[in-house]
Each structure stands twice: as C-alpha cells, then as structure tokens.
Symmetry: C2
Subunit: 133 residues, 2 copies
Amino acid sequence: MSHDSCHCILLRKAARKVSSYYDEALAPLGVNIGQFSLLRHINRMAPVSLTALGAAVELDRSTVGRNTKVLEKMELVESAPGDDHREMVLSLTPAGRALLAEGSPLWDSVQDDIEARLGADNTRQLQDLLAAL
Amino acid sequence: MSHDSCHCILLRKAARKVSSYYDEALAPLGVNIGQFSLLRHINRMAPVSLTALGAAVELDRSTVGRNTKVLEKMELVESAPGDDHREMVLSLTPAGRALLAEGSPLWDSVQDDIEARLGADNTRQLQDLLAAL
DNA sequence: CATGAATGCGTGTATATACCCGCATTGGGC
DNA sequence: GCCCAATGCGGGTATATACACGCATTCATG
C-alpha cells in the first residue's frame, strides 16, 4: 500500500507549497495569504467578533486574535468594543478595503493558475477529497 | 467557479485536521506526528546531518534544528559532531527506537482509517493531486 | 435584585515554519 | 601552505496555530 508516505505530512507539504504561491503573488501588498483571507472574512462579516471570526475560519479564537492584531498594527483592520462589552468587533479600515481591492486580481490569478494546472475536474475532485478528510 | 474557497486555505484546514488525527493517536507516546515523522527519517538516515535531514523532509534547516532539539531534550535523539566538524549528526537513542516501534502500529491505524474512509482509489488520487500542486 | 454559570478576551506557553545574519570549519586555486 | 569562497549551524525575529488560565462582563435563576 501507500504505507510509506504519511497523508498528514504530504498534506502539510502541499499546504506550505501552495501557501507560498499565494504569498509570492500578494507580497507586493505586504500581506500573506492567511492575512488576506482574514481581511476577506472581516470585510464580509463586519462588524464581527473574534469568536465569530474564529468560527468562520475554523481557527482558534486566540490564533485569530493574534493574527488580526498584526493587521491592526498595519492599520488594515480596526477594532472597537461591541455592544456586548465583552466583545471586540472588527472591521476593515479604508486602507484595508483598498488592499482587498488591489489584492483580489492577484489572488484570482493564483487561483486560476492552480485550476489550470490541475484541470477543472481535478480541482473539484481535490476539494471533495479534502472535504472528505 | 470555485472562486470562493481558496485552495490554499482549504489545504491548510485539511492539514490541521488530519494532523490532529495522528496527534491524537500518538498522544499516549508523548509525541506528535511531526516529531514522529522526524524520528522515522532519522532512524532511516542515521547518522544524518541537519542539512541532509532538512532536504529529506523538505523543511528549512533551522526548522529541523529546532524540532530535533525538542526530541533531544526528550532523549529520543542524540547528536554528535560529525567527521566534518561543521556538521552535527543525529541518530536515535534506544528510547527513540523503542518509541518508533511502539508508535508504528498507532500510525498504521490512522493511515488505514483514512484510506478506508476515502477508498483506495481516492487515496491514490489525492496523493497524485497533492503532488501535482 | 443578587449570585453563580456562561461567554468573550488577552496572555502565557509550546510547537511549526521560514528567512536572515554571524560564526566556525572546510576546501579549492594559486 | 594561504586565503577566500563555500558549507553547516545556531540564534534572532516573525508569523501560524493550539490549549489552558485568569479576568471582565453578561445572563439566568431563584
């Protein structure tokens, strides 16, 4: 069987490699794919709490908190106390929205490259397989 | 198209999720899948330098150095200066070999579970697709 | 309305991962 | 045999990620 290559390690390698594609494309904007993905989610969900954002991106709340703090320092995201004073609600700054607009075509192009390399059927198949894990 | 879900983010999610399967199985031994994978490689390649090990697992040398340092503290791996005095060569301690023997069936069982869930054909397909990325 | 449970966060700690810099050692050209 | 380039490493820094703990706030129940 395939009892030599660990599925987990192969997945990690693939994730690192593919991440680097997106990171390179977004590098001119000074953000990486993880940050860009967060910006997209914040844009769509704003004003959004850390907990809700974490649930949406399936990352630990503390992870999201630390990652968004970097985006705040870059002045792409701003946070304010929510109506519920326990919450911090996040939204994009104008600069954040601008970056999203600039980055979208770059993101699209990486996405298209990957789909072109794999083919449409294989792309769908890959997504299905990943979801089935 | 699939222009909503980022291939990269999906891959990362899948990698985290699958990693957790292996991690849970190996938890009784006190190591995670990344460490277990390193132990396997060191066992196969010993005595091996950090640079060679990094090339084998496709990780940065400094990453491998830091990860193996943890394994050294656990006394699963030992390091010694190589013939070339710039190199540090790694090998498993008896405890490391014992852990590898104990862990192998646990690793196999996660591997089997995944393959059973996907099916043999899909497993192969997934590996091919990951390699094509 | 008062109090204990639940919720939301920040921080500490640990691993994973990369890149860069500086130091030590080695090796090749002369 | 000497010197400079190449190689190997450690440590600094930065992000990614999770879990556990403690604090503040809210809410539900009596």
